[in-house]
Symmetry: C2
Subunit: 167 residues, 2 copies
């Protein structure tokens, strides 16, 4: 898939078929995330890959979008490592770049994914469930699978509305 | 360019030839940024495109990386619109996704770009120079041009070091 075409055709995919993505595909998604740029190249991203149905069920209980995590063959919890962070705004931006690379990579691999942020309200419980150190700040959960949805629509403002000035 | 290949081969390009990118290319970069995902689809990104040499010179004065902005045919100041933000962490992540799309789009178009964050220390002065409303929070400046550098190296941690657990 061509890069620009991939950026424009990516959609949030919230329901998946029963087909399970291969380990290599999931690792490719994580690797793509890790190739985001970060300030001082501090690479603050850390990942927990969850396939186990019981742990996924418990994870799902921490968000009102539980059906998405329950119905996904793979969930990737994405953390920012506080011990290497240097600036909250810039590190959170870098994490967003990492998450976008993950979504694009999933799309490029023929998979579908969605960035779940509402679960951040339960960040502490997620950290305990996944037994990560308290230095790990939950950034999002990304669910991954083969898309069951088709014909997803999305819309954006016209680019001219977003440009404040051309100088 | 293939999507995954683009993610892995993108580099921060800090020096540029004299060739000036076309208006359509710059708009494509902004448009690609706008196709990032955002929480509640609030699309908080706003842009000021700077080509004017005198304004670029003044902008360059606000960062220790002045030679990059001085030497780039185009600088895009990227802002987050506080009036549509709903959660600082999630909005800053969305802005990072937008910036990553911009860098990838530049790469896909055969251009080079770099995400400049150090200039955030001068956010107020940048806002005044570009005459944007005080609701606009400076997120980064992205410089764009045809790459003068070749053979840029970059490195990332091995993906296995970044995976805290597979459950």
């Amino acid at each position: 898939m061509e890069l620009l075409e991939g950026i424009y055709s990516r959609r949030s995919v919230r329901s998946y078929t029963d087909q399970v993505p291969a380990t290599e595909q999931v690792l490719e998604i994580v690797k793509a995330g890790s190739w985001a740029p970060s300030g001082l190249n501090n690479q603050p991203w850390r990942f927990v890959i969850v396939r186990d149905p019981e742990i996924r069920r418990q994870l799902a209980g921490f968000t009102r979008y539980r059906h998405i995590i329950d119905g996904a063959p793979v969930a990737i919890a994405v953390f920012c490592d506080r011990s290497v962070m240097y600036n909250d705004v810039k590190d959170h931006q870098a994490m967003g770049a990492c998450l976008q690379n993950m979504l694009l990579a999933a799309h490029g691999l023929g998979l579908g994914a969605v960035w779940l942020g509402e679960i951040l309200k339960s960040a502490e419980q997620v950290g305990r469930l996944l037994r990560v150190s308290s230095q790990m700040e939950l950034m999002a959960v990304v669910t991954v699978g083969y898309p069951a949805e088709t014909d997803q629509r999305s819309a954006r403002k016209d680019v001219q509305e977003l440009i404040l000035a051309e100088l």
